[in-house]
């Protein structure tokens, strides 16, 4: 993990002092509501429907056990004993007092954490693969480059006041778990034929009101020029992105208006000025950062698969958990473990202070003191020895973090929705809960196989509904909450390109949604060939059979 030095800490402490002074000016009436809004957003503080919400940055989703304990303490002391894992790998607190936020930021700074640029029209926290440095299918560990981007984008003098928010995601695996195709900028990092680290750059992707798949605008960008190229790209966006309408202000609208080729040319032209300039990365700096992410020394283990097979045989619950929540590690004898937060009755991604403390303890005991947050809103322990899996599994039950459902129907992505968010048109948490209750049976889920259900409470698409195999979007129909359903979306993992879902048809009332789901599932089960998963089946048969089943029935 990246370790802060005195200069990193000095900046963070100055930032907290700066924001504390701004909060005091606001509370004393010396700072207008409009001006303070912009400043508090850039320090992570939203004002939500019921209370302020503080979004803490978890850079590229990586946490040390000590940092997770600090979050747990904040949940206890300043919140109501829980926090929320967001779809951008961050942690949110729903009930802080505005006047106490500087004290929370100070507590975060003590463990080298912050809430800088987690909202507002600026460059946001960089996200990546939750299995970075551990996944067996990875080519390059993306985290050093995420950290270089984090440092470069923090309080950047020119890019703090962009037309709109700007999200960067990086993947180092062709199995893209970071959804780089639906980000403002997506980076694919790999080694070229000369074994040099290079990046393919995608721009103009995004979800929200106008979902778009990003366009590749640069191929094999050398690592030394990563920041000079980003500077050129952001300058073009900052100067020419629309500012007259916030719904048309994201970079995807600019890329579409100019055309991807013309946008790429404009960036390339500006890059001629920045390339080779002062932002060019020196090899010494690249190596200094890379060195901090060198994989921890993992003890050599002999092959454990035979014992594991016996443990599986003896314990069916453990066997299910291994099947769904444990994925291959690049080091023999190790595994990546996902701890699902998706249990009935708990909003997806919500975790209590006790769960946080327990996960921190397990990370210390079994995973090199390291934890990740996935964009599917689960915890990940990235480096667990296979011989420890059973011991870990047994501990997870007491904390309700043992659900064997990763990638299945009940492992839904869900935004906070109308229960918390002032932007939402409709509630999303009760929809998730109704689906979990109706279809929670393990055998049924297992039979349905891999299925991403993503739920957003409004067009802003925080629940990524466009890229769910089944997407559910809350809409407002004459003051009533309705839900529009789309099929066939995909975020780009499992070696498939990303795709955007197609709308099924007219929307449904909340109590109709579980039955519509049942009809979608039965259509799939009737139509599938052998082992065909939901998405493959959908791609083969199209949307028509689903429409016929659902709307024919509702007409009769």
């Amino acid at each position: 993990m990246y370790r802060y030095d005195d200069l990193d800490r000095q900046f963070l402490h100055e930032r907290v002092a700066h924001y504390r002074a701004q909060t005091e000016r606001y509370l004393n009436g010396q700072l207008s509501e409009d001006a303070f809004l912009q400043l508090r957003l850039r320090n992570g503080l939203y004002v939500q429907r019921l209370a302020p919400m503080l979004r803490v940055a978890v850079p590229y989703g990586t946490l040390a056990a000590s940092q997770l304990r600090a979050l747990s303490k904040i949940a206890r002391e300043y919140d109501r004993g829980y926090g929320h894992l967001s779809t951008r790998q961050n942690v949110q607190f729903n009930w802080p007092e505005l006047a106490e936020v500087p004290a929370i930021l100070e507590a975060l700074a003590l463990v080298d954490m912050h809430a800088i640029q987690t909202s507002g029209s600026c460059i946001r926290n960089v996200t990546t693969d939750q299995f970075a440095a551990a996944a067996a299918d990875e080519q390059v560990d993306p985290r050093p480059y995420c950290e270089l981007l984090r440092q470069w984008s923090t309080a950047h003098p020119e890019f703090e006041w962009l037309p709109r928010k700007f999200k960067i995601a990086v993947t180092g695996s062709s199995n893209d778990r970071a959804a780089v195709e639906v980000h403002d900028v997506g980076l694919r990092v790999y080694r070229d034929q000369q074994d040099q680290v290079v990046f393919d750059v995608l721009a103009g992707g995004g979800l929200g009101r106008t979902p778009v798949i990003g366009h590749q605008i640069c191929t094999a960008l050398p690592i030394a020029e990563l920041l000079t190229y980003m500077e050129a790209l952001l300058r073009v966006y900052n100067r020419y992105g629309r500012r007259d309408n916030k719904y048309k202000a994201r970079i995807k609208i600019l890329v579409r208006a100019m055309g991807a080729d013309a946008f790429a040319s404009a960036v390339a032209e500006e890059w001629q000025h920045t390339r080779g300039g002062p932002a060019t990365l020196l090899t010494t700096e690249i190596e200094r950062i890379e060195k901090q992410f060198v994989m921890p020394t993992l003890h050599q283990h002999t092959d454990y698969s035979e014992t594991l097979a016996q443990e599986r045989f003896d314990n069916p619950d453990f066997s299910r958990w291994l099947t769904h929540n444990v994925t291959p590690h690049k080091v023999a004898g190790y595994a990546c473990v996902t701890l699902s937060t998706k249990v009935i009755g708990v909003p997806p991604g919500d975790v209590s202070d006790q769960q946080m403390d327990a996960v921190a303890d397990w990370a210390d005991a079994y995973s090199q003191s390291e934890i990740r947050i996935s964009h599917e809103q689960n915890f990940v322990l990235p480096h667990v020895a296979q011989c420890d899996l059973l011991a870990l599994f047994k501990k997870t039950k007491a904390q309700a973090l043992n659900t064997a459902n990763v990638g299945l129907l009940t492992d839904m992505i869900c935004c906070p929705g109308g229960d918390y968010c002032s932007l939402a048109n409709a509630k999303s948490i009760p929809i998730a809960e109704a689906i979990q209750r109706q279809f929670g049976d393990y055998d049924y889920q297992h039979d349905l196989g891999e299925l991403d259900i993503n739920i957003s409470g409004c067009m802003n698409a925080c629940g990524h509904h466009h890229v769910g195999h089944i997407g559910i979007l809350g809409v407002d129909k004459k003051g009533a909450e309705f839900y529009q359903i789309s099929l066939g979306g995909h975020s780009g993992h499992s070696q498939r390109p990303a795709s955007l879902g197609k709308i099924l048809g007219p929307s449904f009332a909340r109590d109709e949604v579980p039955n519509v789901m049942a009809q979608i599932f039965s259509t799939y089960l009737n139509q599938r060939h052998d082992e065909e998963d939901f998405l493959s089946c959908y791609e083969r048969i199209g949307i028509a059979p689903f429409k016929e089943t659902i709307y024919a029935k509702s007409d009769s």
Partner: protein, 144 residues
């Protein structure tokens, strides 16, 4: 009377600016070499602007970052004179503006100059380079 924050031999100072001291601003359409030039945030900078006696960038809103990129580009074409931010600027954005090459700020009437002066340099160091300090922090780190 408006307050101007400007850099006098390395020190930031506040001066009250009377109406008679207002520069005879020219737009980019009427400007000629040697005159003070005031531009909107959406113009394309011209190399001939190097000869302006003063350049002002008029911000339509303090959240409009185009003026920050424009300032960077005006410095890139080689303009060495006073670069002034005016219009809807805000004291909490001044420290970003300084790093993009602005050297004076015409404060809006409701802005307390003492507060603005106190907001001008809240940080000792920044990670990335800027117009006024092109080398990024890590290069100073390596030396230190």
């Amino acid at each position: 009377m408006q307050n101007l924050i400007h850099n006098v031999t390395g020190q930031w100072q506040v001066s009250a600016l009377s109406a008679s001291e207002t520069p005879h601003w020219q737009t980019d359409k009427t400007w000629q070499a040697g005159l003070p030039l005031c531009v909107t945030v959406d113009v394309e900078p011209e190399p001939v602007w190097q000869t302006a006696s003063l350049i002002g960038i008029d911000f339509p809103a303090f959240t409009d970052g185009r003026g920050l990129s424009l300032a960077t580009l005006i410095r890139r074409i080689g303009y060495k004179g006073d670069l002034r931010a005016l219009g809807a600027i805000h004291e909490d954005v001044l420290h970003y503006m300084v790093r993009c090459g602005f050297t004076s700020f015409l404060l809006p009437e409701d802005c307390d100059p003492a507060v603005a002066l106190a907001c001008i340099a809240p940080y000792t160091e920044f990670y990335q380079g800027s117009v006024i300090q092109p080398a990024p922090l890590y290069q100073r780190r390596a030396r230190g």
